[in-house]
Amino acid sequence: MLKAETLDVERIRQDFPILQRKVHGQRLVYLDNAATSQKPKQVIDTLVDYYSRYNSNVHRTVYTLGEEATEAYESSRKRVARFVGAAPRELVFVRGTTEASNLVRFAWGEKSVKSGDTIVTTIMEHHSNIVPWQLLAKQKGAKLKFVGMLPDGTLDMAQFEEVLKESPRLVAVTHCSNVLGTINDVTRICSKAKKAGATTFVDGAQAVPHMPVDVSTIGCDFYAFSGHKMLGPTGIGALAGRKELLSEMEPFQGGGEMIREVFLDHSTWNDVPHKFEAGTVNIADTIGLGAAVDYLTTLGMARVRNHELGLLKYAMETLSKVKGFQHYGPQDMALKGGVVSFNLADIHPHDLATILDEEGVAIRSGHQCAQPLMGWLDVAATCRASFYVYNSYDDIDALCAGLEKARSIFKI
């Protein structure tokens, strides 16, 4: 009953060559998907195909190879945009979520944030949604305010309402916490922020790979995500932005491709989104991300979410039976992505990760790029197991067996 999977995991696993390898003689049990996902052969083949058959630069050539590359690149933009409910011309390709928040910091923040303004973010953010705003606030003499959390690991909405009274310029919030798995009601947050006159930035790095996302329903001004966490290559991600904002904004980087005309004393800018894609873009990985989106679309994002929810429920049920297991984050599974952060008795996360590695089980250990959140949890570090489409109930059993072995080594 509980073990009924909503995806054909056995068949999916055949698509991922890396899952065939052994680690320390054991079957690889990859549970660090919140850090980066593995890649199906459909994505890997796309990269090989591009470099083997039509490698050339985009948007500047008239020969066959260049036209094919441009077509593949722009087709990828259309599919990635459709995948998150954005219009293709509102979708800027970037290196990843970190580059997206930095793009907004410079291209929007330079002009829009003034001394004395308030920028609002939360203590559950990844460093990529804190540090760019710290830098912006420092540069502009603006105030950076953090919304806290309730004991159940959800955002303190009362405190959020309170800080909105300061009419912040920007509200930057994560859609899904990379540590606790908390899924924030970003539609409600953006609606309230908008009424208070704020521009909104949503970090979707942990949401887009794992659940249906529609940026037009969310109603945010900017939405960012990373390709490598959603079966795509590293070094490619996207920033979806409202057309009016993108059009008004200054460029991020200057160079080729982003210009319309260049004179010795000034230049004019290319249309959105090309205005923000200076230099030769990451063609191969963009096409690879298109293939990743096709793969996920075929699986169906609602089924991906259901599958992870099943794994999450099974994991919480089995892991809580391990003596000394302490879980961090919401207990309500409907509010939680496929992420389990935990500690085991007095074993430090890095010691635990070393022991699990010997069993072939890969989990994240450390501060998870969220030191303010670690401070709130009052721990130096946690362990994190995070799931994806190729994970099975056997993987969770392997994690449990590894935890029991750690208990025995540490004599707990």
């Binding site: 007095d346 996360p349 890095h350 010691d351 022991i355 010997e358 250990s365 450390g366 130096a380 540490f410």
Partner: protein
């Protein structure tokens, strides 16, 4: 080498019952560092006695078993030694204290954090003394 070989009785013992753990009321050297990968933190305090000897030494911090046990063992080894002894302290000495576990490139940083803190503190102190 397996995990049970790394996490020997000795390391677990020092992790759970660290020797020289705490703070000194009076000290001449205080040094702190962290290992950003693990979030390990180590502080070492030293009271310098006659002839630049390490008269008293304590450490405090938090982190993985390897970082905390190695720092604790190092304070035991350092007590009573000349400050200049710290200069010739090397990676091999720390690994020997831990029983020569086969640590990978990321975990070796945990083992060497205490030595880094000790060296930073003592070098700083000796540098100041030289200027005097």
């Amino acid at each position: 080498m397996s995990a049970s070989d790394i996490y020997k009785e000795l390391i677990l013992d020092y992790y759970r019952n660290p020797r020289n753990f705490g703070k000194l009321d009076q000290f001449d050297i205080s040094s702190h560092d962290t290992n950003p990968l693990c979030g390990d933190e180590i502080d070492i305090q030293i009271k310098v006695g006659n002839g630049n000897k390490i008269e008293q030494i304590k450490f405090f911090g938090k982190g993985c078993a390897i970082s905390q046990a190695s720092a604790s063992m190092l304070t035991e080894l350092a007590k009573g030694k000349d400050l200049t002894w710290v200069k010739q302290l090397a990676k091999e000495d720390i690994l020997r204290l831990l029983g020569n576990p086969d640590l990978g490139p990321s975990r070796i940083k945990c083992a060497l954090l205490g030595m880094k803190v000790l060296k930073t503190g003592v070098y700083g102190y000796l540098g100041t003394k030289l200027e005097d």
